[in-house]
Assembly symmetry: C2
Homo-oligomer: 477 residues x 2
């Protein structure tokens, strides 16, 4: 470490004087959970996990680590899908957990803003907003564990982005600790502020490679007072898109528009206790429509019935049912949400988080199974997800007659084929999950040349020594 | 120039081979209009104005200029309020006008996206979208001249940001020519794409100091099919805010919420032909409310009447009138839009484009006149603007008994006093207009230290030689 000038246990002692004995651990029993990513794909090692209790403590920690040249890996709820928040195998990277920095600093229901520390869990952010009569709209499967710091560092998306945008669209200000312990206080709460470069947008989505987000000012929305959930079977992929556009055009409170395949819904009904198809007959394609308004009695049902009647008349919609109770709403959403779990129960899966232009979703849904069956003839495509964003989770279940290990060994081939279709349609090979360490090589291939040079230039300007989350987004030089 | 190795006329000849003889002029008669900012505050000089017709031409031009070290000033519609798009007095900065690059490349009404070149005028963008049954929501006073390239380079705001956001929120992709002629093709049209740093957000709002935006993919919205305009007198500043929050809370299509003072409306009625107060009695405070929906027959009037009845009952609203025709709508908006012109007719004005947190707008409106009257007792405050964004145009008209020149000579003092209030409320000293060359010093004071260092670091990474719009945002080193 730095030519042996400082010993690791001396460094640990110095850090402990900053964060307290409870704020640092080198015990492998304690540090192990911080070293394995959520999917278990990239187990790593760390000399210690540091858990500062305040921005000041973190700033001090960063000064100490910067002095000795020890790189850091920031971690929130450790729910990265791309191994973006865990250390590599070298054992030289300190993990910094923001979990103790979990205060809601303030909520202003007139400004419709909320200042929170990075370690507040997303669900707690939603609940704190609700307690003050407001709503924080970001919603994801991992919201019970993911922290707002991680959500912002990865620009998380989720179900409601067609209405409210991605995480970056929900943030007005940031506080960030830089590699050398300097603190950027950008905790503004303004709707208009044109005073120089959009630094907050640079840190949001940079996956901890440019600085450590310690707090954020979030935008809030009025509380939802009326909502409606509809489950439909549709004739084909184009019908699903056409229905989406019809609803989007009418300003009737569209909050989520989720596509599901016949195969995916069948797996849910078969493997998930109590799940059942809310329609009389199974079909090849389904959509779940979620409408919401902050107006009480917004008339969502009447408006929806008009659209659905038209879509049934035109043949786009085969059948549709509107949830009549909270329990029915939950049951419909459950069919969508249990897709991952039902696939897990049915066997091994190859997963792809991609996006294409919204108009290309039907082409994508038709082409991908064809090219992937050329590789593994009995592969079972299970596409589902956020059709209104062009963001389909293109999963594949193992063939019934193939071993899981053999199937998974071909995941590179399958993802490559998926990505070729995505690329031909002008899409993205990481819609929601980011790059982390898993997609570093593919990023370098897709965005070679100028884009990567620009990103490298910015990285070098803010973190010349490569202290911050090395090996994420970029390969280590 | 570059130690005299290349003569200026040789450079001009080389540039002419790229852009054609019509694409470059060194004639002072031709170049003069490009050298004076819209407000006429900072007249400058240029060796020539270059008007490339394509991205390839511009790239070639930038390589030539980069080789000889001649800095460039990009210019769109030349409507900057802060002298951000004109050259300094040195006569060493080439002006690059993007006005010939004015093609709409494509519109996709299913994706709800549109690809345009930088030189397309904002109004033409709106019209092209409308022709395809869509809507581009950004709207500003200068929309008949401002180009989309300038709009994005300055992250323009306008009337409808409470609903649709600022310019940066309306862009999905960019094409940018860098200082050395490399072209970054970031023309994506994806709603979700987490593949590295948000480069588009870095270029948007960077005022041409990091690269030249040559094209953009814009987000479109469904066409508006129902709208309503209401003109109200309100009891006081707090009543205006309270009314705003009531409407915002009910999801009834709020598109603009504009504050006007009694003094400002009186000036409009007095100086603008045909303008008249749409209410029976004058008041000290007015608001204009604009509601819009893409749903036909959205019931805006019924909803509004409920809110207004409540607000009259509570005493917040004194009187209100709903526009009954397109002509009445236009007449109401005209009162708001003619504020600048009526002030111009009434005498000299000192203008401030600021923002504060929305909850602080009433405090701001009350405090600023008090502190400014301590400087010039008979100064006439004329605040108006985008209350729902916290963005008030804090204008002052000269006292009736003071000479214009004397009044204007004290504009520094007045703006300083305004900004002190803004700063105490956590606001911004440039909400919409940016920094340009006019606010360089004040930016350095307000954002001294880490924020400016971060910005400088990014500038140096992308434009180490200071080729791009020197003297804007930062002082020249």
């Amino acid at each position: 470490l730095d030519g042996g000038v400082i010993k690791i246990d001396e460094l640990q002692a110095a850090l402990a004087t900053v964060v307290g004995d409870n704020g640092i651990s080198a015990d492998p029993f304690d540090t192990a959970p911080y070293c394995v990513d959520w999917r278990g794909l990239r187990p790593g090692k760390t000399p210690f996990v540091i858990r500062p209790a305040s921005t000041e403590q973190l700033a001090h920690v960063m000064r100490l680590l910067s002095d000795v040249g020890m790189p850091v890996v920031p971690q929130g709820g450790n729910t990265s899908m791309v191994a973006g928040a865990t250390p590599d195998e070298s054992g030289t990277q300190a993990v910094i957990s923001l979990s103790r920095m979990n205060k809601v600093r303030s909520i202003d229901p007139v400004d419709m803003t909320m200042a929170v520390e990075a370690g507040v869990v997303l669900k707690a952010v939603q609940e704190a907003a609700a307690e003050r009569g407001c709503m924080f709209p970001l919603s994801l499967a991992s919201e019970g564990s993911a922290t707002i710091g991680g959500v912002l560092a990865t620009n998380a998306g989720g179900n409601t982005t067609i209405r409210y945008g991605n995480a970056r669209d929900l943030v007005l200000g940031l506080e960030v600790v830089l590699r050398d312990g300097r603190v950027w206080n950008g905790m503004r709460c303004l709707r208009k502020d044109n005073t120089g470069y959009a630094l907050r947008h640079l840190f949001v989505g940079s996956e901890g490679t440019l600085g450590l987000i310690t707090a954020a000012t979030l935008r809030l929305w009025p509380k939802i007072k009326d909502e409606l959930v509809i489950f439909c079977s549709v004739a084909n992929e184009n019908s699903a898109l056409s229905l989406f556009r019809k609803i989007q055009d009418r300003d009737i409170g569209l909050r989520a528009f989720e596509y599901m395949s016949g195969a995916g819904v069948e797996l849910v009904v078969r493997h998930i206790d109590g799940a059942r198809l809310p329609l009389a007959r199974p079909a090849q394609h389904y959509v779940l429509i979620d409408l919401a308004s902050s107006r009480a009695s917004a008339g969502l049902r009447d408006l929806t019935e008009v659209v659905l009647a038209e879509a049934i008349e035109s043949g786009d919609v085969i059948d549709a049912v509107i949830a009549e109770s909270i329990a029915q709403k939950a049951a419909m959403w459950r069919i969508r949400e249990e897709h991952s779990e039902s696939q897990r129960k049915a066997g091994a899966s190859i997963k792809n988080d991609i996006s294409v232009p919204v108009s290309s979703v039907p082409t994508f849904l038709r082409e991908v199974p064809v090219v992937c069956r050329q590789i593994i003839p009995k592969i079972r495509p299970v596409p589902f997800g956020h059709m209104g964003d062009g963001n389909i989770h293109m999963n594949f279940l193992q063939p019934e007659d193939m071993e899981a290990a053999e199937f998974l060994s071909r995941s590179g081939e399958i993802s490559k084929a998926v990505n070729e279709v995505v690329r031909s349609l002008g899409g993205s090979m990481s819609a929601e999950h980011g790059i982390g360490s898993l997609k570093v090589d593919i990023l370098a291939q897709w965005h070679e040349g100028i884009e990567l040079e620009l990103m490298r230039g910015i990285k070098d300007a803010l973190d010349p020594a490569g202290m911050l989350n090395p090996g994420k987004i970029f390969s280590v030089r």
